[in-house]
C-alpha cells in the first residue's frame, strides 16, 4: 500500500445536521476507484413520516474497530494511518458480523458478491494526498475534509469530538463529528 503521500494533516469532520439528503456523496462514493461503482457511504431519512431529517454516515475508523474484532475471517485490518480497510476479498466469507456489530451501522453486505464492503476514506485518493470524493462534492459541508485550523476558522462555535458512548461502551474514532462548542463526547441513548 502507498502510505508515503497519505495526508496526515487533514482530517474528516462530519455534521449531519447540515445534511440535506441530496446523495451527491453517494453518487461520488461510487466513483471512488476502490469501490467498483458501489456506494459505501450511507444517507438515509431518520424518520421520513415525521421529518425530512437525513443522516450521512462514513466509516468512523475506530481506534479499536469492532468490525475487525468480530470478523471470523480476519478480513478487516487497520493500517498505520488508522484507516480501517474494507474486507479483504479473498478472506471475507460474507457472514455480516461486522455489518451487525458496527455501532455506527457502516459496513455493507453486498449480497450478490457475498462480500462486505466498507468505506476506506477513499484510500485511492487520500493515499495520494487528495480529499475523499464524498467530502469533496458535499454541497452542504455535512462532510468536510481539511485541517483542524480550517474547521476552527469556518465553524468557531462548534467543537469536533471523536468519543462516542453506546450503552456502556466508549468508542474512539479517527473521524470527528461537529458538536456544540465545549462538547467532549456524544452519548447515543
Amino acid at each position: 500500500m502507498n502510505y508515503t503521500s497519505f495526508n496526515k494533516n487533514e482530517e474528516f469532520f462530519v455534521d449531519m445536521q447540515r445534511c440535506i439528503g441530496c446523495k451527491a456523496c453517494e453518487m461520488a462514493c461510487a466513483e471512488c476507484e476502490t469501490n467498483g461503482q458501489e456506494s459505501l457511504i450511507h444517507v438515509n431519512y431518520v424518520d421520513r413520516a415525521s421529518t425530512v431529517q437525513t443522516t450521512v454516515q462514513v466509516c468512523m475508523h475506530c481506534d479499536d474497530p469492532v468490525c475487525a474484532n468480530v470478523c471470523p475471517a480476519d478480513a478487516i485490518s487497520k493500517d498505520e494511518n488508522g484507516i480501517v480497510h474494507t474486507a479483504n476479498t479473498e478472506r471475507c466469507i460474507g457472514c455480516s458480523n461486522c455489518v451487525m456489530a458496527c455501532p455506527f451501522g457502516v459496513p455493507k453486505k453486498e449480497e450478490s458478491y457475498d462480500l462486505m464492503m466498507k468505506c476506506t476514506m477513499c484510500f485511492d485518493r487520500t493515499s495520494v494526498g487528495k480529499k475523499p470524493m464524498c467530502a469533496t462534492v458535499c454541497p452542504s459541508g455535512a462532510l468536510f475534509f481539511g485541517t483542524r485550523a480550517e474547521i476552527q476558522e469556518m465553524r468557531p462555535n462548534s467543537t469536533p469530538i471523536n468519543t462516542f458512548i453506546f450503552g456502556q461502551e466508549v468508542v474512539n474514532t479517527k473521524v470527528n463529528i461537529m458538536m456544540p462548542k465545549g462538547s467532549t463526547e456524544l452519548i447515543i441513548y
Binding site: I20, K23, E26, M27, E31, G36, T51, V52, V137, M154
Partner: protein, 738 residues
C-alpha cells in the same frame, strides 16, 4: 400528421429512456484520460465548475474542479452523474424521419434538411410567416440562444419564437424590470456570507440548487437567521429559524402583511425610500388592511410566526432575499416577486455588501439565455422588440431592414394554444420538451397532433420529439464551445470536451445550415462560437445586459466576469446598485403595489384539495437527460403524492396506496407518501415524468397576465384512494412512462 407513427411503447424500446450506468470499473481510460476539461455542469443555474475526463473523444468520468470560486469542487448528485450522457445508448446518432407504421428511421442529413426547408417554405407561403413557430430553451449557451433569436427573426422571419425560460423565471424577470429596470440577481452569492437574515421564498434550494446550500450554511455559521417560506418542510426548512408554511397561492398576502408590519412599526429606511425609490405610498396603501390576523386567515400561517419573521427582517442590518419558482409559477407570479422586492426596498438593504436580493434562476443558462433574444418580446442585450430604437440598433447589427424585423410574438404556452386553434401550422424546437414541462399536457398533446410539420433538434428522443416529422441529432453541452451566465450573473466558459458522436452535429452547425438553405447564408456565417459571441457582444452593447467588455480570454483568466461589463477594461459587476442608479426611466427603484388576488383556480366541493408541484433533487426539469441516468432514476424512481396524515385520514388513504388524483384537466395515479412535512390542506407531486406519470396532466394553463408564466404551483384536485398498495418504488418504470 404529427400523431405517433407507431405505438409509444415501440418508440421507448428503441430510443429510451433507458437507464445508463457506468461499468463496474468505470469507462475504459478513466484512469488515464487524454484530457481533464475545465467546464461547467449542464444542469441548473448554479453552473458549478467541473472537470470532465475525456478519453478517445468520449466523456468517461469527472474530477472535481477545486479552484472554481462558486462551488470549489462541490457538486450535487446530478452533477456527479452528468458525465453519463455522452456515452449513452439512447444518444441520437443520425437524423431520423417519421415513417407511418414503422416509427423513426435513419435518414440522411441532406434529405432531412431539404424536407425541413421545403416544409418551412410551404407552410409560410400558404399560411404566412408567423404560422411557423420556434420553441427554444435555456440549457443552450449564450451563443446558441443569441443565434436562435436571430435565426427565428432573420431566417424564419417569424414573430412566434419563445423559450422554456417561460416556465422558469419570467415572473422574476418582469418583476425585476418593473422594480429595477434590469433583470439580474442584484448580488453574487458571496454576499450571503455575512447576511444577518436570509429569506428563502419558494425555493427548495437543497433539492434544486444543492450547491447553493453551502453559502446559506456559511452565513448560518456566522449567526445568520434564516426564514423559509414554503408549503412543505423542505430540507432547508427543517433547521430554519422560522418556517412560514404558506398556503399555495397566497404568497403576496404574506409579503403584504409583512410590509404593513414594517410600516406600522417604522422599520423602514426612510432615507433610501425618499431618495432612491418611487411608488412607496401607493404600495403601502395597497396593503393598509393586511393585518397579521388577516394574513393568518389567508395564508394559513400562524400570525406570531409572521410577526417574528417581519421583526427579524425589519431589525436586520444586513440581509439577503432569495426566491425561485415557488413564488413565480403563479397567475400572479409578478405580484409575488414585486411583493418580495418591496420588502427589500422598504428596508433599503440593497447595493451594499451583504445586502442582497435575487431570483435563483433555474436552468443552466436561464440568466444568459433570457437576455439575448429567444424570448418572444425581446432582442439581445435584454432589449425590447417593440422599442423602435432597440429594433433599429439590432437591425443594424444583423444587417436587415428594421421593417423586416418581426414584432412581439406569442409566449410558449400561447404558441401551443395557437397551434391548437390551427393558427400555427409548423414548429421547430430545440432544447425544449413541452409535452412534459408545459401544464395541461393532454391539451399540449392534442396541439402537437395538429401540426402540419414539426422538426425537433435534440440529442435524445424526448417525449415531444416522438411527435416530430424529422428529428435532427444535435449536441450536448460538452460537445460545443460557448459561454453561459450563471444565476449570479457570472458569464463563464463552456468547453467542448468532445465532438458530437456518429452523424450528430453541433446545434450551431444545424441552425446555420437551415439558415443557409433558407437563403440567408450571408447573415449566418461564423468562423466559430467565439465569432458568434463577439457579435453578441456588439448586439448587447448599450443594452441593460451589456456584455460588450467580456471576451473569452477575460472569462478564462478570471473564472468568469459579471455583467454588465460595457468595456474591456471594466472589471464586471458582481454587485449591482452600489451607485443607487437604477435602470428604470426615472433612475429610481420602484415600489409596485401588489394587492392579494385569488389564484387562478381555488378549491371547491368537487376539487377540495390544493395541489402543488415541484422537483426532486435527483431529477432535472422534464427529465430528458436525468431520466436516462440509472442512479439518478434509482434515487427517486417514481413520482409520489406527498400528503399530510390528517388529510390522508380524511380520505382513508394508507401509506403507498395508489391514489387517483384528478383535476378539471386530467387525472393520474400516484402512490401516497404520508408525511407530516406538508401542509394539511395541500398535496405535492413532482413533475419530471411523462405520460401517465406526468403531474402536468393535472396543472392548469392559467398564465400570469404580465409574465405569461403558467400557474404550476397551485390548482384544485380531487383524491380517490384505489384500495391497492403500490409495488415497491424500485420496480417502477415511471422513468420511461408512456
Amino acid at each position: 400528421m404529427a400523431k405517433l407513427p407507431v405505438a409509444e411503447e415501440n418508440i421507448v424500446t428503441k430510443f429510451g429512456p433507458h437507464k445508463n450506468y457506468s461499468p463496474k470499473d468505470g469507462y475504459p481510460g478513466r484512469d488515464e484520460p487524454d484530457a481533464l476539461v475545465k467546464t461547467h455542469c449542464c444542469f441548473c443555474g448554479m453552473q458549478c465548475g467541473i472537470q470532465l475526463s475525456v478519453k478517445d473523444n468520449k466523456v468517461v468520468g469527472f474530477e472535481p474542479w477545486m479552484e472554481f470560486p462558486f462551488n470549489e469542487g462541490r457538486l450535487c448528485p446530478k452533477g456527479v452523474q452528468r458525465y453519463l450522457q455522452n456515452n449513452h445508448p439512447d444518444r441520437l446518432l443520425s437524423p431520423l424521419k417519421r415513417v407511418e407504421g414503422q416509427g423513426f428511421v435513419p435518414t440522411s442529413w441532406d434529405e432531412a434538411m431539404s424536407k425541413t426547408v421545403s416544409e418551412i417554405k410551404r407552410i409560410q407561403e400558404k399560411y404566412g410567416n408567423d404560422a411557423f413557430s420556434m420553441l427554444s430553451g435555456v440549457s443552450l449557451t449564450n451563443e446558441k440562444s443569441y443565434l436562435v433569436g436571430k435565426f427565428a427573426r432573420v431566417a424564419l422571419k417569424t414573430k412566434n419564437l419563445d423559450y422554456n425560460g417561460r416556465l422558469c423565471m419570467v415572473s422574476a424577470g418582469a418583476g425585476n424590470k418593473k422594480a429595477f429596470g434590469l433583470d439580474r440577481a442584484s448580488n453574487n452569492y458571496s454576499d450571503l456570507e455575512y447576511a444577518e437574515v436570509i429569506i428563502v421564498a419558494g425555493a427548495n434550494i437543497s433539492e434544486t440548487f444543492p450547491t447553493l446550500t453551502h453559502w446559506i450554511w456559511k452565513a448560518r455559521d456566522r449567526g445568520a437567521k434564516i426564514i423559509v417560506i414554503d408549503p412543505r418542510m423542505i430540507p432547508l426548512a427543517r433547521t430554519a429559524d422560522i418556517h412560514l408554511d404558506v398556503r399555495p397561492g397566497t404568497d403576496s398576502a404574506l409579503y403584504g402583511a409583512m410590509l404593513k408590519y414594517l410600516v406600522d412599526n417604522d422599520m423602514l429606511d426612510h432615507d433610501f425610500i425618499d431618495n432612491y425609490t418611487s411608488g412607496f405610498q401607493e404600495t403601502i396603501d395597497a396593503v393598509k388592511d393586511y393585518t397579521l390576523e388577516w394574513a393568518e386567515e389567508v395564508t394559513g400561517i400562524n400570525k406570531n410566526k409572521i410577526r417574528e419573521a417581519a421583526e427579524l427582517w425589519g431589525k436586520a442590518k444586513t440581509s439577503f432575499l432569495l426566491h425561485a419558482r415557488g413564488i413565480e409559477h403563479h397567475s400572479k407570479g409578478v405580484d409575488n416577486v414585486v411583493g418580495c422586492i418591496n420588502l427589500v426596498l422598504a428596508t433599503g438593504r440593497i447595493g451594499r455588501p451583504y445586502c442582497g436580493y435575487g431570483t435563483i434562476t433555474g436552468q443552466g443558462n436561464g440568466q444568459g439565455g433570457r437576455e439575448h433574444g429567444h424570448k418572444c418580446d425581446q432582442l439581445p442585450g435584454n432589449r425590447d422588440i417593440e422599442n423602435p430604437e432597440h429594433r433599429k440598433y439590432i437591425s443594424e447589427v444583423w444587417g436587415i431592414n428594421e421593417k423586416d424585423m418581426p414584432g412581439k410574438g406569442l409566449s410558449a404556452y400561447e404558441i401551443i394554444e395557437a397551434i391548437h386553434r390551427g393558427e400555427i401550422k409548423g414548429l421547430i424546437s430545440i432544447c425544449f420538451n413541452p409535452l412534459v414541462s408545459l401544464p395541461n399536457s393532454n391539451y399540449v398533446r392534442e396541439a402537437l397532433e395538429k401540426l402540419e410539420y414539426y422538426v425537433c433538434i435534440d440529442f435524445f428522443l424526448n417525449e415531444t420529439a416522438r411527435h416530430a416529422d424529422i428529428v435532427l441529432p444535435g449536441s450536448l453541452q460538452e460537445e460545443e464551445e460557448g459561454t453561459t451566465t450563471s444565476a449570479e450573473g457570472r458569464v463563464i466558459r463552456i468547453r467542448q470536451a468532445v465532438t458530437p458522436p456518429g452523424d450528430a452535429r453541433t446545434d450551431t452547425s444545424i441552425i446555420l445550415e437551415i439558415a443557409k438553405r433558407l437563403g440567408v447564408e450571408d447573415k449566418f456565417t461564423y468562423e466559430d462560437s467565439e465569432a458568434i459571441f463577439n457579435e453578441l457582444r456588439v448586439a448587447s452593447k448599450g443594452g441593460t445586459a451589456d456584455y460588450n467588455g467580456i471576451t473569452y480570454k477575460r472569462i478564462e483568466d478570471n473564472m468568469g466576469i459579471f455583467w454588465p461589463c460595457p468595456t474591456e477594461d471594466h472589471p464586471g459587476t458582481p454587485r449591482l446598485w452600489e451607485d443607487k442608479k437604477f435602470k428604470t426611466p426615472d433612475g429610481k427603484a420602484h415600489f409596485n403595489p401588489a394587492p392579494y388576488k385569488l389564484p387562478g383556480e381555488v378549491t371547491d366541493v368537487d376539487y377540495p384539495v390544493i395541489l402543488t408541484t415541484g422537483r426532486v433533487v435527483s431529477q432535472y426539469l422534464s427529465g430528458t437527460q436525468t431520466r436516462r441516468i440509472g442512479k439518478l432514476v434509482d434515487q427517486y424512481p417514481e413520482p409520489l403524492l406527498e400528503i399530510h396524515p390528517k388529510l390522508a385520514q380524511q380520505f382513508g388513504i394508507k401509506q403507498r396506496e395508489l391514489i387517483k388524483v384528478s383535476t378539471r384537466r386530467g387525472e393520474g395515479i400516484f402512490p401516497a407518501n404520508i408525511v407530516e412535512t406538508i401542509r394539511e390542506d395541500t398535496v405535492f407531486i413532482p413533475y419530471h415524468w411523462s405520460g401517465k406519470k406526468s403531474a402536468n396532466q393535472l396543472t392548469p394553463g392559467t398564465l400570469d397576465p404580465i409574465s405569461k408564466i403558467p400557474e404550476f404551483k397551485v390548482c384544485a384536485c380531487h383524491l380517490e384512494p384505489l384500495n391497492e398498495i403500490a409495488p415497491p418504488s424500485k420496480e417502477s418504470t415511471a422513468y420511461a412512462s408512456v
